[in-house]
């Protein structure tokens, strides 16, 4: 029987997993730190879960509350910097994205991660008016996952070309490049009809084609440039030459006066 390959997650998988392997979990501790407690209290109404994981306070919220929660965190709790914002693809498992905002409080030197689950196809509210760093971060998230962001001033692809198809960080995105990706440059610069003339891309710079007489010559079997490859031996003698003969006297001087 042919091996089953899941279509919703084409990423590399572990080739072998021990049947008895139990995956432990990084401990999630209850919030005890005084500063973190005050943060949790400030946004208590909107959070669904809160814990500390490896020194970072994690707040789970509903996707529609993201602007409200981040505003409270910025204005009341002193989280004035949004270090990072992005998403994790859980489409295969839950048909959802997990979005996170990583915030920093510079006076307390504390970090909070706000996490929410966003259904596939839903849009999230932009936090660009709170944190300008979200301008680029949200564009990157849109580019890489296709998550739409409402009220973003300029939601456009940022890293991939504007006319690219597909969103590269989705788990369904092919690893070896699809048809569109492999012919992108040829189609764009020359047109689709040139695909046959140019041929598929070869990224191996050291590739040697024995029968290519335009770029390679076989010692003892030389043929004229571009002529068909032949197995007939030729009797060409090579003279012994030194590439640079340092002992040779200069034949001419550039300037007579020297």
């Amino acid at each position: 029987m042919r091996k089953y390959v899941p279509k919703d997650n084409v990423q590399k998988k572990a080739y072998y997993t021990d049947r008895f392997h139990v995956v432990p979990r990084v401990p999630r501790v209850a919030v005890e730190d005084a500063h973190f407690l005050s943060v949790v209290n400030a946004v208590k109404a909107d959070i669904t879960d809160s814990y500390v994981e490896i020194g970072t306070l994690v707040l789970h919220i509903k996707p529609e509350d993201n602007f409200k929660v981040l505003q409270v965190l910025k204005e009341q709790c002193g989280y004035t910097q949004c270090s990072e914002q992005s998403a994790v693809d859980y489409l295969a498992k839950d048909n959802e994205f997990e979005l996170f905002w990583q915030l920093l409080n510079v006076t307390e030197a504390k970090r909070v991660r706000v996490v929410c689950r966003l259904a596939n196809g839903a849009a999230i509210e932009s936090v660009e008016s709170l944190f300008k760093s979200a301008n680029f971060a949200e564009r990157e998230m849109f580019d890489m996952f296709g998550i739409k962001v409402n009220n973003h001033p300029f939601l456009k692809r940022i890293i991939m070309p504007d006319d690219w198809e597909g969103h590269p960080l989705l788990k369904t995105y092919p690893l070896q490049g699809d048809e569109f990706a492999s012919w992108y440059e040829v189609d764009k610069i020359f047109g689709k009809e040139y695909r046959d003339i140019i041929g598929p891309e070869n990224r191996d710079p050291s590739k040697i084609e024995r029968e290519d007489t335009k770029r390679f010559s076989r010692v003892g079997y030389e043929v004229p440039f571009g002529a068909p490859y032949s197995e007939e031996q030729t009797d060409i003698e090579y003279s012994e030459t030194v590439l640079v003969d340092y002992n040779k006297k200069p034949s001419k001087t550039l300037d007579k006066r020297r």
Binding site: K13, A14, R25, V26, T80, F100, N135, P168
Partner: protein, 409 residues
Amino acid sequence: MQVANKLSPFFENLNFERDDNTMVINFGPQHPSAHGQLRLVLELEGEQVVKAYPDIGYLHRGIEKMAENMTYNEFLPTTDRLDYIASTSNNYAYALAVEKLLGIEAPRRAQVIRTMLLELNRIISHLFFVATHALDVGAMSVFLYAFREREFAMDLMEDYCGARLTHSAVRIGGVPLDLPAGWLENLAAFCDKVDYELEHTYEALLTENRIWKMRLEDVGVISAEDALSWGCTGPMLRGSGVKYDIRKEEPYELYSELDFDIPVSDRCDSYGRYRLYMAEMKESTKILRQLIPMYSKTEPQLMAHAPQYISAPKEEIMTQNYALMQHFVLVTQGMRPPKGEVYVPTESPKGELGFYIKSEGEPYAYRLKCRAPSFFHTGLLQELLVGTYIADVVTIIGSTNIVFGEVDR
């Protein structure tokens, strides 16, 4: 819009025919001052920039995607290609994030070596900044002097790990090698040299130089509030008067034991940031000098002992059956960290370099997000360049110290 045909070619750098009397200039991606592959579309009114649009993605290699399809150890050399000016900072930031996820700590000697390498990389990166920034502004000789010293630092890196640019000098759980003989003496000599040259060459050439001051003072002014809002970190943030250095505030490695200052500038302009870079190099040599005597007081262990995740030392692998089995599994299948997510910030020479790793307990990271400082500094350009003159654009780009390996990833 221009209508291009074979008889009237398309001027890709200029757009003349516009109704509003502004000129649109395309800057890069192949511009010597673009620091790699930055493309800027600038709208000019006279010589003043009224709109700037940074266009990135010309060096996109999908490093985050690659991380999802490589085991944790396989991915480490790929991080060299992020900020290729200071590769060890990336290796270290990644290794630290994975170590936090695993809950292991590197042995003391590895910590000393790592901190040394990090500070050496900071000097390499800052020298590169001074060199290219001065070259952009027009001071060619500084470029030559700074590259001379940078060469010595890269020789030190080469002596340690064999590579000059893509170091991969850090491993998850420690470092691969001990310091070679005589390395510490060379390092001490290098510190002296850098300190001497900083004072007698770079600062003498630049700090009070009239042209340098005229070109840098009050150029690229960022307020503290803007710097925070745009996600500026590192010298960009401290140059705006916010004293935040991750080495001090959220110490990792040996930084809590070391005595060093965090230079801050409240000038908020390019000149302040230039002074900051100079001061930071001096702090780095100060740290390196403190680390040299610490080295000899450590035990020779280089990699953490965590047989589930990290291969045993080579002697054990060669002599003990179980260590060999563990090693075989770790090489063929890769380590499987516990389920969980972690975000670990480190102070790279450019700013806050953080790795967010989401692990589902598999040998491949479920999601790895690299928080690169230059990415956000590039985003800032769209606001910072507006209102400045075209001659200052290059100064401002140089002052942000962006490296496109980590902007595009």
